[in-house]
Point group: C2
Chain length 209, copies 2
């Protein structure tokens, strides 16, 4: 399969996030760059999960190119028109790019700002029961991709205490308080900003790669 | 049972809404009035479902007094600290009121603005499959308790058409796009604003009522 797009929703305030596994897949990065240029109503972020490919869990990992389109916030079992419209625009523009690429359009190279996955952070839990003892702090909730520094609030315990960030290095949290990740032991992931420089691409170049 | 509070969350942007079944239960209305005075961080609205009591579906309908505390928006399976804090404050203040009342405090009468349930509106659906053909319009989503007038947008169809309001009288929508109400055929409810005048209450007065 040449390309797969895996369409996802999240309860986190992720806006439109394009997630993929390789920092050297120029075709996918060019589509991300194209969507970043064309979509202006919401922030379009690119997230690189630089995992060994055997650890990949999204559908597009079985195709040569592609990404997961993650749009949120939206609760499970709810259709929000704003989220639907963003997803539709992103899918339409992806197909648009493919048509242009297959027709011989040259896409110029340049820089793409991406977020690179670093680590996951779990909720504070009771050591015996494993039940949560705190929720994501109101000052962190909905602030996906903000810059999180040492001392910033992370969690608010159910008895009212604030748990703060102890990371040495400022990092960017994402998938903050995603409903499906409680059972996985993930309150949020942390990422680092990174600039990738992509070369110009054209259909023949890709075929010979 | 003298009093029950039924604690609920919703995917709708309901803030803190106090729901009960009787426009003549002065004890419950006084607690609502007390919460409206004390809680200033979020709007506190009172909703009267003036149903025949046999149609009542909330837990407090089996007690002499009480209400449902409805707080949102929060997705299913997610704990939001802001929602948790609002709920805790409302429960603490309710217990506070009961202690004061039982200690003989006189609560002065006055006006309470409430919303009275009028009717429910379903999503546009395919007449044969009953599948949705539209979502709540982005201009209505999250605007619970706004004033909805004839011609205002209600739904955005999946092919891009806007469905507008045809009500003769301006009304207030609530429980807009609640996840649990798709299966009940409810996109939102409509209410009318209403001012109730409650008399002063004191513990002996209530006992003789």
């Amino acid at each position: 399969m040449d390309m797969i797009c895996d369409l996802h929703n999240t309860t986190s305030n992720m806006g439109l996030t394009l997630i993929h596994y390789s920092a050297s897949d120029w075709v996918t990065l060019h589509i991300c760059k194209y969507l970043q240029t064309k979509i202006t109503k919401v922030p379009v972020r690119v997230l690189v999960l630089d995992f060994p490919i055997n650890d990949a869990y999204n559908l597009e990992s079985v195709s040569k190119h592609g990404f997961t389109l993650e749009v949120g916030p939206q609760p499970q079992g709810v259709v929000r028109a704003d989220i639907y419209v963003i997803m539709k625009e992103a899918v339409d523009l992806t197909i648009d790019w493919i048509h242009k690429f297959n027709s011989g359009t040259v896409f110029e190279g340049g820089d793409v700002e991406v977020f690179k996955f670093i680590k996951s952070v779990d909720y504070p839990r009771d050591p015996e029961t494993r039940n949560l003892t705190a929720a994501v702090h109101p000052q962190l909730q909905d602030r996906d991709f903000c810059l999180l520094k040492r001392g910033d609030p992370l969690f608010l315990s159910f008895s009212g205490e604030t748990v703060t960030c102890e990371e040495e290095e400022p990092l960017h949290p994402f998938f903050i308080n995603e409903g499906a990740y409680y059972e996985k032991g993930i309150a949020f992931h942390l990422a680092k900003k990174w600039t990738l420089t992509v070369p110009s691409v054209q259909v023949q170049t890709t075929n010979s790669a």
